[in-house]
Symmetry: C2
């Protein structure tokens, strides 16, 4: 019996390890492969033969790993070059996979990882190599096409919603309150920022305004809205996505971009401080606080969505099933069957269609003013943040287990 | 039968409302006062007669309020002037208390609030006014003297520990990791930053270095330590308190101080960005991330310590008991009887001794290098972060209830 391998790539999420355990457990049941190997640090690690045998790890460690946030197999941001410009990498990788008698390769990641799956499966087909390549979706940004949502998003949304509630309360305690700006991640899409609409007290959203990259940001209108709201209620609570753009399609915080990552994506962040300065300069009030959630929103297992964890697990499980069925070059996708009661099914999409593509927050779900979301957004988000996981504790803090160190 | 009043002051914590409910429920049992009033926005609100009757609120609302973070009665940063320079405020306040037939005044707060309790009780005694004034401790900073610790601290420590674990994992996923700096609050004291020592993976603290205001910060030594550690393990995880000072007793982040609060305390923050710049300028690595936890650490009820919630509740309960016994001008204090198994008792201290005083992190609990804590710190912190609260959920997010809006 031959083996399979799984690896993780791109930015971490709270539930990315669950997909690995889903696949591992499915293989235990089905005995499809002799061993489930894990490549540490994605294909970058596999190319260095940094490979461990996950099937020999004890159940307790696997259980704790399942409920450990962040990429417990390590990650990479390694983009395979086009096969025509550099086939050597492809050859090296296949040689290593053959050495380990690997017949299926699973990659948990976002659109760049699906690009890797698409390229490798194409290469294998062209060269008659009998190895299947299947992608398992993962990104807090929720920006993958052809899937209702992505594992990792629900947990990030749950943390953002919870944090929005709690920081709103903290920012509302004085007679003279100020303006509070909470900045979420999300790159070019507004899914994460929009999910903050779920934070409500007495059935009223705590956010007064939500700004998304999908609605052109108008500085004058922003200041007018904020000023009016501040005069009306003596406090304003604002949610902003790091990637908002103005009418000329330029990032509002563009000048704060300090670097680009290895894929050439702009590293955003800092737009909340920019908005803070706008408000201060306009003299609306002198009390303006900006808070960037930063990486907290993608690793907060202590506030994860159990629905998200379960779906991540099932996506791993389904990936194994599809590989056994002989599929390759595909990504597992999640289809929402019904929102209430919430039910999903799993199917496959071409990894190539997902790769280097972006699913934007629907503009029909943004109000006319461009500063809030509509009721469709609530129905979409609500089931994704259901239930909390049962974590194991040690010394009164969660007990986490990883394999990359 | 006469009435009593309770109000909150200063910065919020996750458990400050629990003290209010503890007092309210104790009064239900003992029927010591006819009504328990709440002053909204501290004495600033009471002076404006912004007063509600808490005893008439339904049980469900009170239960949710108990598990709601941040000052649900509103807060203020209002310092009473010396009675000799302005007795009018004192007279107005007493007049209002008399109007409501109030015989006991409870103030949940930190050292500035204890100053208020000391002044008001002294004024009442000098003028033969039969109203008792009792303080209930509250501050995430844990900097009140004559109490083993303060309600609010354990929950903040639990959030910091959890977050340290999770961000450490997030910051360790690549082959080439960088340096991560997590900044906590704490003003002049290092309690909050030190509590991050509890975050361990495989029994090893995730933090390589912890910098506290109680150990003079040496920039040269810092860079040497960080460089050595980075060369050794290709990543460094640093915890820093916002209030660290150099050998001349100047705040390291001093030039980043943007303002002072109403009490003349410097508003700190930004030292992690300063350290980040130090490391970048020294050329140790180009990958350095800094994250300020900001207000998240003081309002994260979703990650609160149940021990802390219980003690906050009991402190409120004891305050009522002491007032009934005729005490005044005192603060409820928590005494640790045993650390293992952890047991506490409650007693009273003079509010005046607590006011305008600071309890520092013990220098004996800091290692010789000045960059970590000793084992005594673990034993001190560990019992304070025990267990999670059972929260009520609504729409998959915690259901919070406040009275100040």
């Amino acid at each position: 019996m031959s083996n399979c391998i799984i690896a993780q790539s791109g930015g971490p999420t709270a539930v990315i390890n669950s997909s690995v355990v889903g696949l591992l457990n499915a293989n235990k049941e089905q005995k499809a492969f002799e061993k489930v190997y894990a490549g540490l640090n994605g294909i970058e690690g596999i190319l260095n033969k940094n490979i461990i045998d996950l099937s020999s790890v004890c159940d307790e460690d696997i259980h704790n790993f399942r409920f450990t946030p962040s990429s417990g197999l390590g990650s990479c941001r390694y983009k395979l070059k086009d096969v025509n410009s550099n086939s050597k990498e492809y050859e090296s990788l296949i040689e290593i996979l053959r050495e380990y008698d690997i017949k299926a390769f699973f990659y948990v990641g976002g659109n760049d990882s699906m690009d890797t799956i698409a390229k490798l499966s194409k290469y294998a087909r062209a060269n008659n190599i009998d190895i299947k390549f299947i992608g398992i979706p993962k990104t807090i940004d929720n920006d993958l096409k052809f899937t209702d949502h992505t594992p990792g998003f629900g947990s990030a949304a749950k943390f953002i919603g919870t944090t929005a509630l709690e920081t709103y309360l903290d920012a509302s305690v004085y007679i003279n309150n100020g303006i509070f700006i909470l900045e979420t991640m999300g790159r070019d899409t507004g899914w994460l920022a929009a999910s903050a609409c779920l934070a409500k007290i007495n059935d009223k959203p705590v956010a007064d305004f939500i700004y998304l990259p999908e609605a052109a940001f108008d500085r004058i209108k922003f200041l007018t809205d904020v000023k009016r709201k501040f005069e009306e209620q003596n406090k304003v609570y604002i949610i902003v996505s790091e990637g908002i753009k103005d009418e000329n399609d330029n990032f509002v915080s563009e000048f704060e971009c300090v670097s680009q990552d290895n894929f050439g994506h702009a590293q955003l962040g800092g737009v909340s401080n920019y908005l803070r300065k706008l408000i201060l300069d306009a003299g609306v009030t002198t009390r303006v606080k900006a808070l960037q959630l930063g990486i907290l929103q993608r690793c907060a297992m202590h506030c994860a969505s159990d629905t998200d964890l379960t779906e991540a697990y099932n996506a791993g499980k389904m990936a194994l099933k599809y590989a056994v069925q002989g599929e390759t070059g595909k990504m597992v996708s999640i289809n929402r069957e019904v929102s209430e009661p919430y039910t999903v099914s799993y199917s496959l999409v071409n990894a190539e269609d997902v790769a280097n593509n972006v699913k934007y927050f629907p503009t029909e779900w943004i109000n006319k003013e461009g500063n809030f979301v509509t009721s469709e957004a609530y129905s979409y988000f609500e089931p994704l943040i259901k239930e909390l996981p049962s974590l194991t504790f040690e010394g009164n803090l969660p007990k986490y287990r990883v394999f990359n160190q």
